[in-house]
Symmetry: C2
Subunit: 349 residues, 2 copies
DNA sequence: CTGAAAGCGCTAACAC
DNA sequence: GTGTTAGCGCTTTCAG
């Protein structure tokens, strides 16, 4: 009992962190036994294992993930790449990914591309050798660059379909279908789509899906854009709308919708009386803006979680099951930004 | 030139990542020379160094940060702890920290405490041995737990003053002073402070500062709370306000202010005509809410950046200059949520 | 200026 | 079950 007192407890600090050898010496066993006691509890005498763990705790020993990662390649780290941490869209994805990672005993490296190729490549380069896999939630990398990365480490791409790389996307077609139906039901005959980034896979997908859905409902869709997927981009979009305002606007994402709505309101246009607005994603701000934004809600947190789960389960599996992309369901959340279409100003011919 | 063609370029992938030995062999030098060529370019013949680097690039060699961190302790990783990634308040801090880290060639480990001690401790435990320092931007740890952590690795705490640990705070007194002055100028004689988390250092600081400032201006301040520092918390706060509404409300942060404002508006109270509202931080949503929220703007991004700069510069410095906390300036941003005080309903006695 | 050799802390065969 | 022995990839004396 007395050695307990002077044993530096957990973080008594100062001196160097105890190593596996310190524990081994204290327990009177070989280092490999200590290692086993932590990694393969089954493979070691239950009572010694227990003693070792107790001693380790007393000494404040923690396995050094770097050191254990060297020989095994198992670093217990995952990287998450987003194009802009500041974008609330990513907040939920990060949360989902981080908590799934933490639950599995993994740590998350956050890479913020800051909307810049250069920054992204450099950070990725640095993180790559250290991680066991990566989630590309928002990336500027080309498909081929992504494929190269995927050859070095397991990769899961979000909201983008890259051949031969596992991906998790949203059910954009369904989202656009229910949006179109909702609008049609309200009497809208024509809708303007405010496009997001030109290079965005999701943007192309959404426009196409909206067009298809509209066709079946005998609605017309026109497009303005592309715009940066931000509130500022949305403000610009408002200026790009045709003089003769459409009765309904569907934006690539919530920020664009919010920006456009704000700009429109600033010039006296009423939402939803004059124009109905629909966003996509259901980020938090849709709830604090007035009127509340009708939007296609995406299970962002689940998406982040699913991404790391996929990464984790792919570990060891020889075949990186690169089947069809996994698709997550979305649903329309109707708030106050959509309403009955006003009578069209434009003469019917 | 011909060996250039079959040398696997950058990420041609497949085989294992090239090691320093592969480069050494290709260059016909010892591994130690390759190491020097990267780490201490001065200590090696300029032309061989150049040749080594070229070869390394051709082979797609990258130093493995884990391996190099083992013998040196320099892992090029920093950890950032936030209590809730989902909180826009942290978005800017993360951005600032991440970019400063990236510029210095560091990678950032993100730890989301999810408002839970347990989660935070566990994640911290895991990350600690791997990082060269940590920024505690939002933590539930006790002061003493923080001090213990600080003994193991350099730590910088944000928005909290922990004895013996470097910290970076905002100029709360000044923020509250200008807020009080602004309100006094508009004729408000009494203001209600909506308090944030009970345990928050910043909350106590703000309330105290507001009280002091108010005293000098002959204003009265009452307090309601504590509340969770979220929009939902703000909605609750609205219900806790005295029946006879104050003419001005100052909230611990923007989210609380926004939540309170929305709840008040929902029950027909006009902002700012009936009550003026002031927030703190100037997170993005203050700009999309109606009316725009008057708030004390904090240089969040700069704060994140300053934190990692402090960590980086403390490396190697023997004395972890644990002087007085660094304080960042704030300024009042006046938008539309504050206006002339309505005549007080309450009879003057 | 460069090579050889000894580890960093941990794991993984391989013996006993 | 447990100890021994090699390394993982890189850095760092220490010689030359």
């Amino acid at each position: 009992m007395s050695e307990r007192d002077d044993a530096p407890t957990a973080a008594t600090g100062g001196s160097k962190a105890p190593t596996i050898y310190d524990v081994a010496r204290a327990a009177g066993v070989a280092a490999s036994t200590v290692s086993r006691a932590f990694a393969r509890p089954g493979r070691v005498n239950a009572v010694t294992a227990e003693r070792i763990r107790r001693l380790a705790a007393e000494l404040g020993y923690r396995v050094n993930p770097l050191a254990s990662g060297l020989p095994t390649g198992r670093t217990s780290m995952l990287a998450l790449v987003v194009s802009d941490v500041t974008n609330p869209f990513y907040a939920e994805i990060i949360r989902g990914a981080e908590s799934a990672a933490a639950e599995a005993g993994f740590v998350l490296l956050l890479i913020d591309a800051q909307e810049s190729d250069r920054v992204e490549r450099a950070s990725l380069e640095r993180a790559l050798p250290a991680v066991e896999g990566l989630v590309l939630a928002g990336t500027r990398l080309s498909d081929s660059a992504i494929r190269m990365t995927a050859k070095q480490r397991p990769v899961v791409v979000l909201n983008r379909d890259v051949a031969d790389v596992p991906s998790i996307t949203l059910d954009n077609p369904h989202g656009m279908l229910v949006t179109a139906e909702h609008l049609a039901r309200l009497g809208h005959r024509t809708v303007t789509y405010v496009a997001g980034p030109a290079a965005s896979w999701a943007d192309g997908m959404r426009l196409r899906s909206l067009r298809e859905a509209a066709t079946g409902l005998d609605m017309r869709v026109q497009r303005v854009g592309p715009f940066a997927p931000t509130v500022a981009g949305g403000r610009e979009a408002a200026d790009a709308l045709p003089e003769d305002l459409p009765t309904a606007v569907v934006a690539y994402n919530d920020q664009l919708a919010i920006g456009a709505m704000l700009a429109l309101q600033a010039r006296g246009v009423r939402v939803p009386e004059d124009v109905s607005m629909v966003g996509f994603d259901d980020i938090f701000p849709t709830r604090i803006v007035r009127p509340g934004l009708t939007t296609v809600a995406a299970p962002l947190r689940a998406q982040g979680r699913a991404a790391v789960d996929a990464l984790l389960s792919s570990r060891g599996n020889p075949a990186p099951r690169t089947g069809k992309p996994m698709t997550l369901p979305v649903k329309l959340v109707v708030r106050d930004s959509t309403a009955q279409a006003r009578r069209t100003r434009r003469p019917s011919s």
